[in-house]
């Protein structure tokens, strides 16, 4: 079992990304409003205000999607579908996806009830 974390910088793709989650077999996910460290430092901490020019072209806010994944195949399918939606996560500023092992859970949808 894994926790899949996806920081989606291109928020305009959220709807299509979630469709990709469903298609790949992710039964549920949590979506958080988030923001990049660079934006926070440059705009909220006066000492770093001089670095605003380096934020040009960067997305200030993003969405972080958390999902517990039981089957590794789901991650592979999802990665392929998400790449199609956002144009490839290897492109800078698109998003970051990673997994970490999960050794215990409670409250998940039962496997037999997953879509």
């Amino acid at each position: 079992m894994k926790l899949l974390v996806f920081v989606l910088n291109k928020e305009e793709f959220l709807e299509e990304v979630l469709e990709a989650y469903v298609e790949a077999g992710v039964a549920g996910a949590t979506i958080l409003d988030s923001e990049g460290m660079g934006r926070f430092l440059a705009y909220e901490v006066p000492l770093f205000a001089g670095f605003k020019e380096f934020m040009k072209g960067n997305k200030p806010y993003n969405k972080t999607i958390l999902a517990v994944i039981r089957n590794d195949q789901v991650v592979e399918t999802l990665k392929r579908l998400v790449d199609e939606v956002v144009g490839g996560l290897d492109n800078p500023g698109t998003g970051i996806m990673f997994t970490v092992p999960v050794d215990w859970t409670s409250g998940l949808v039962r496997e037999e009830e997953e879509v």
């Binding site: 006066p46 205000a49 670095f51």
Partner: protein, 152 residues
């Protein structure tokens, strides 16, 4: 990360500087750096530092300030430091005027290093014991040595 010993020359440290305005202090620190030979245009550097000051305050709080700029008028990253005889307002969020002032400058293409260095100094200055030591140290040479020692 570059060592602070290589960017802070003890000759660019002054203690008990008797100046009463932010502009005068920044000018004095720019002049210290200019004397070192890494500044190609003293007036240009002063302009860039003051322009950065106009953007947002560089007072860190806790009686410290880190005025800074990346500038086409310097060849490499350099720091000058002053302990003031009388505290001067640098617009710190906690309202405390600054007694310790670190001027940090670097070339425009070294923004990443400038950012790391700025964060490093901010971290040092959040340390009460370090700040107290710098506030009470005897002279410029021991002031610089405290910084080198902290940078380990």
């Amino acid at each position: 990360m570059i060592s602070l010993r290589s960017i802070l020359d003890p000759a660019c440290v002054v203690v008990d500087l008797d100046l009463r305005s932010k502009e005068e202090i920044i000018k004095a620190l720019v002049d210290l750096l200019s004397a070192g030979g890494d500044v190609t245009n003293r007036d240009g550097l002063l302009h860039d530092v003051m322009a950065r000051e106009a953007l947002a305050p560089t007072g860190l709080g806790m009686s410290c300030a880190i005025p800074h700029a990346h500038s086409a008028s310097v060849l490499c990253t350099a720091v000058a430091a002053a302990r003031l005889k009388f505290p001067v307002d640098f617009g710190a969020p906690d309202g405390t005027p600054a007694t310790l002032v670190f001027l940090m400058v670097g070339p425009k293409d070294a923004a990443g290093m400038h950012l790391k260095l700025l964060s490093k100094f901010a971290r040092f200055l959040h340390d009460d014991a370090f700040r107290d030591a710098v506030m009470t140290t005897a002279d410029a040479s021991s002031f610089a040595e405290l910084i080198y020692t902290r940078d380990t």
